[in-house]
């Protein structure tokens, strides 16, 4: 079963614009992670935010976490064509031993 669900399922923007995707999850977590997957490739870890953090930055990425709403958002600023990929949020399922449950992903297309 999936713990996190991303929204929207697909997003198309112009190069230079900002992209925002959201993730909702069901149970309490101690951290939430975002991964990127280029077409036909493996996933790449982008950023991890702990449950006691509300916001985290990494380069052009900004992640927020609202544990009261059980939601997170990933903002990519000044998007580039190379940002075209699927983005997944991942959370440890309840009682897990070092596991992650992935959502269905947001397919981001950045048009040049």
């Amino acid at each position: 079963s999936q713990q996190g669900e991303e929204d929207p399922q697909a997003l198309s923007i112009q190069e230079g614009e900002n992209a925002t995707m959201n993730c909702s999850y069901k149970t309490s977590i101690n951290n939430l992670q975002w991964y990127r997957q280029n077409s036909g490739r493996g996933l790449v870890h982008l950023i991890l935010i702990r449950s006691n953090e509300r916001e985290k930055h990494s380069g052009r990425l900004r992640v927020t976490l609202d544990t009261s709403k059980k939601s997170s958002s990933l903002l990519i600023t000044a998007s580039r064509a190379a940002d075209t990929a699927s983005y997944f949020c991942a959370t440890p399922p309840s009682g897990s031993a070092r596991q992650l449950t992935f959502g269905s992903g947001t397919q981001l297309t950045v048009l040049p």
Binding site: G42, L43, L48, F88, A97, R98, Q99, T101, F102, G103
Partner: protein
């Protein structure tokens, strides 16, 4: 930079045949994961190893799937016999002993069963 290696990258097989995938995690990573990813969906865990021991194989279809990590390093995932519904991307990931759960993924094996 160290990477997770997987082979083959692509595999086409006929249904009822046997198929095997290999994964070599990042050196020193104790935890190894096999995932299956159907097109348009997120990865779903099949099996998790800690060193050479299986931690969780509750989602592994054990009538046809098997996985091993004999020396606690590289791992093999086998399907026998393959079915049409097994067509998917098979991803291997590893993580170090620390508790942050960040996982490092290999490039995957794209399986097509005909």
């Amino acid at each position: 930079e160290a990477e997770v290696a997987q082979s083959p990258r692509y595999k086409i097989t006929e249904k009822s045949q046997a198929v095997a995938f290999w994964c070599d995690p990042i050196s020193g990573h104790a935890t190894l994961y096999w995932y299956r990813q159907i097109l348009g969906q997120g990865p779903e865990l099949l099996v998790q190893f800690q060193d050479e021991s299986v931690v969780d194989d509750s989602q592994l279809p054990k009538d046809r799937f098997s996985a091993e990590r004999l020396k606690g390093v590289d791992s093999t995932l086998k399907i026998q016999p393959a079915e049409l519904g097994d067509s998917a991307m098979y991803l291997c990931a590893s993580s170090p002993r620390e508790d942050l759960y960040e996982q490092y993924f290999g490039p995957g094996t794209r399986l097509t069963v005909t």
